[in-house]
């Protein structure tokens, strides 16, 4: 790791001030992606601004169908929440399968959202749930927020405070893990709610998380795995690496989607 200067922010205002004063600063929450990247010298922020101790950004608030999750809520918090399980069992399931139990104790919803790793699980959930990302300066729909590989609409110094969504009527998540890293090699989240059916895919697309609109249309007409029979996904926009070719990923998108729908239907 290169040298860095650590700051513990006491409030969002304090965090913004520290950020403005830094050369090449970065915010850190759980640090489960950033610290490993710094260890291997792939990331070298001059200043590390720790958000973990800011009050009021942690917790799950559910009122009626509305679910709001504070950015500093850890995967373990989500995984243990009976209320979340009731409101959105697939997000609860997802939280139980992000990283490993040790990572889940530190890693946060906000950190994952802001990092938008193409193999991260949450972007698929938020996109499928048509979630709103609440930042220090605005609110954005997931469709507008996730813009590419490790890219989001966040401006310099802007911090994710929370995410909000309406609990779906039905939902399902299935992922196929990279055998080595255990990140999602393909993960598909399907959600059926008042606004229709949304299908979001992580781990597979070459521009990060994206929606499978053809599947959405078919499922809107018939929300069952059978509706996806015969649907194919083109490998042309899929990532390709030693673990999974574009063709293989394209296949996995269909398989995982069918299973996610079956799961949703069976819940």
């Amino acid at each position: 790791m290169y040298q860095t200067t650590y700051h513990r922010a006491s409030s969002l205002e304090d965090a913004a001030k520290l950020h403005a004063g830094g050369d090449d600063p970065k915010f850190v929450a759980g640090g489960m992606t950033l610290i490993p990247a710094m260890k291997t010298r792939l990331s070298a922020p001059s200043d590390l601004i720790d958000l973990r101790h800011i009050d009021g950004m942690k917790g799950i608030r559910i009122s009626g169908q509305q679910v709001e999750i504070g950015a500093l809520t850890t995967h373990a918090d989500l995984a243990q929440s009976k209320e979340l399980e009731k409101a959105c069992h697939s997000l609860h399931y997802m939280a139980n399968h992000v990283g490993d139990p040790l990572v889940r104790h530190l890693g946060t919803m906000g950190g994952c959202v802001a990092n938008n790793d193409p193999a991260q699980d949450y972007p698929a959930a938020l996109l499928a749930l048509d979630a709103t990302i609440i930042t220090t300066s605005r609110e954005m729909k997931a469709d507008d927020f996730f813009t590419g590989l490790f890219e989001t609409a966040l401006e310099e110094g802007e911090i994710v405070k929370a995410v909000r969504f309406t609990a779906p009527d039905q939902c399902g998540y299935e992922k196929f893990r990279n055998p080595a890293s255990r990140y999602a090699m393909t993960g598909v989240f399907v959600a059926k709610g008042a606004g229709g059916v949304r299908v979001a895919v992580t781990g597979a697309g070459d521009n990060g998380v994206y929606r499978e609109t053809e599947m959405e249309e078919k499922l809107a007409a018939n929300f069952s795995a059978d509706a996806l029979e015969g649907v194919t996904v083109s490998p042309s926009n899929m990532m390709s690496d030693i673990h999974a070719s574009a063709e293989y990923r394209a296949n996995l998108v269909v398989v995982m989607a069918k299973r996610a729908v079956a799961k949703a239907a069976g819940h």
């Binding site: 290169y2 040298q3 860095t4 640090g31 260890k39 490993d100 139990p101 040790l102 104790h105 530190l106």
Partner: protein
């Protein structure tokens, strides 16, 4: 450089370290607690697992300054009032270790696993929840056995006999 202060194995410690110092480095190099190991660079192997404020985390993935103000328990502090913690005893009784390098992390993870599953453990749960710990010697067979036995012992249902 930053001042750090934390409670490690029940003892208050303070120090002044480079900000880039990982918690595991601080424990090993500054405090001499070498039971916590480093087996990879990518936060996957779990040889470095300690308890931070009561929860198992990877001490290679958090800076010492981030952990300042917290309570840390390492393998050396797992059984403050006994010769061995029941989970340690179970690993010995069931041959849950060979070279011993991954063992402290395995045991710290296992104790946390029992905490997270108050309803008890089965083989599938143990295998799934060991995702963040890699062992190259045992094929996990006897680790799984040890964790199940250790969990039983912690619940007071059975006594492990090794000491």
């Amino acid at each position: 450089m930053s001042d750090v202060s934390m409670v490690v194995n029940g003892r208050k410690v303070t120090g002044n370290v480079e900000d880039r110092t990982l918690l595991v480095q601080y424990l090993r190099e500054n405090l001499g607690l070498t039971g916590t190991h480093v087996g990879c660079d990518t936060s996957q192997c779990g040889a470095c697992v300690v308890h931070l404020d009561g929860k198992a985390i990877k001490s290679c993935s958090i800076l010492a300054v981030q952990a300042s103000g917290s309570e840390v328990t390492t393998i050396e502090g797992l059984a403050p009032d006994a010769d061995l913690h029941p989970m340690q005893a179970a690993f010995k009784e069931h041959h849950g270790l060979q070279c011993g390098f991954c063992t402290p992390g395995m045991i710290m993870t296992a104790v946390d696993m029992v905490r997270r599953h108050p309803g008890g453990l089965d083989e599938k749960t143990v295998r799934n929840d060991l995702e963040g710990n890699i062992c190259r010697c045992t094929g996990y067979h006897n680790i799984v056995k040890s964790v199940l036995a250790g969990a039983e012992a912690m619940s007071g249902k059975t006594e492990t006999k090794a000491a």
